[in-house]
Structure formats: C-alpha cells, structure tokens
C-alpha cells in the first residue's frame, strides 16, 4: 500500500532517514494548533474565566506573573505551592485562579487539540 504524506527534518538531518524525533514536521505526528491566545490579568483571590466554547476540553498552557513580581512569568500547573495559582479547563472555559497577594498578568494558549 502506498505511503503518502509530508515530512520535514530538523536542520542537519537527512529527511529520507531521520527518525521521527528528528523531524520538525510529519503528517504522521500531531502537533498542537493554537485556537486562541491572549493576555489578561487576575486579581488576588479571583478566578479569571476565558470562554472558548469549543464544546470539548482543550489542551492549554497558561503563564502568570510571579506573585509580587513584575514582568516575570511562570507556567501555571495545579501547584498552589509554587505558583500560588491554578489553571484548569472545561468544555466551555479556561479558568485561572490567583491564590497570590497581588493582581497578576496572565498569558494563555488554548489549543484546538482536545485533552
């Protein structure tokens, strides 16, 4: 059976022989596609809600300003200890909860790719 597709190798690698990990693009391998991204802010003790309305729970990445700092960003996981923030998504919204003491800027990515 014919094997059709497209692949692009990383610089320095022969595309005809490169293993999957040495490709920057392959029609065989999914990569995340950004649905929306943007900046906002969330006050102390509040939850920022960003509507995506995808109808499914999307993959996401959220960065938040370090509590008490300016122009210093960190990725948000469900780690109240390190981030003093949490981010989570359901089928309609992305939520960012600020457990810190100051209003903090947020940058978010919502992917087309479902969790």
């Amino acid at each position: 059976m014919a094997n059709y597709g497209i692949k692009v190798s990383k610089p320095g690698y022969d595309v005809t022989s490169a293993a999957d990990r040495y490709l920057s693009l392959s029609s065989k391998l999914n990569m995340f596609k950004v649905f929306s991204s943007g900046t906002s802010s969330v006050a102390s003790g509040n939850t920022l809600q960003i509507t995506h309305s995808l109808g499914y729970i999307p993959n996401f990445m959220v960065y938040i300003e370090t509590d008490g700092s300016t122009n210093q960003m960190e990725i948000v996981s469900a780690s109240l200890i390190t981030n003093k923030a949490q981010a989570y998504a359901d089928s309609t919204k992305l939520y960012v909860y600020n457990y810190g003491s100051s209003t903090r800027d947020v940058y978010y990515y919502i992917m087309y790719d479902p969790i």
């Binding site: 391998l29 996981s77 469900a78 359901d90």
Partner: protein
C-alpha cells in the same frame, strides 16, 4: 551557502519578511510532536492510599510530556469537571500531591494518599512527545 526550508506565515503576514513570531510554521524550528496520547482514571481506595499510574512509552529516552488531571475540590466537596495541568501540590500539607515523572520506558504519576476521599474517581489525560526531557 544556500538556505533551504519551508515556512508558512500567519494570515495577513508576508512570508518573505515575516518574523519568527509571525510564522505558523518554519522548518528552522522544532515543534512539540505528539508520540502518544491517552486517558484513564483511578478510583481512590478504601482506606485511602497512594496510587501510581504507569503509562509505558518505551522510547528509550526520557520524553517531554504533559499530564492533565481532575482533582478533588475541597470547597465543593466533589471531583472537578475541569482538568488541571500537573503537578498538583496543595499548601495544606500531607500527602495530597499529584506528581508525574518520566523514565526511559514509562510515564508515571503518583497520586498521593490523601488527594481525594475514598471512592473518588479521578480522570486524567496525557500527551507524550517525541521531544526529550533530558
């Protein structure tokens, strides 16, 4: 020296002059390439005890990954419908963390003994990339 490759600009940007951030894709840059993805769940036992989820990848090196999980919301007294990017750590203390870690063969996620009450069903989802973690 010739400079060969493939690049695609974002809508509205001239591909011949677009900066890196104005490109959708460029063969000059790697991307996070998904090796495998999936989902599962755990049921917290009675009595509560730590649990480890094991996902085999057998890539032979430690891959980058993303792991998303529901958590138990102590304020509502129920498992969240939303998913959180792990790890999860709780300032309240005790063994309530949800901590993923990866080896050359497996992605494991340790659910701490007291992260949720007995009987709670916690769903999770994961992405394992071809890209390495070390």
């Amino acid at each position: 020296m010739a400079n060969y490759g493939l690049k695609i600009s974002k809508p509205g940007y001239d591909v011949s002059s677009a900066s890196d951030s104005e490109l959708v894709y460029s063969s000059k840059f790697d991307t996070l390439k998904v090796f495998s993805s999936g989902s599962g769940s755990i049921t917290v036992p009675n009595p509560m005890a730590e649990q480890t989820v094991t996902i085999t990848h057998n890539l032979g090196y430690r891959p980058a990954f993303m792991f998303y999980t529901q958590i138990f919301d102590v304020f509502s007294g129920s498992v969240t419908s939303g998913y959180y990017m792990s790890p999860y750590t709780d300032p309240v203390g005790g063994d309530g963390s949800i901590m993923p870690y990866v080896s050359t063969t497996t992605l494991k996620i340790r659910y701490g003994a007291v992260h949720a009450p007995s009987g709670s069903v916690i769903n999770y989802k994961y992405f394992i990339f071809y890209n390495k973690a070390i």
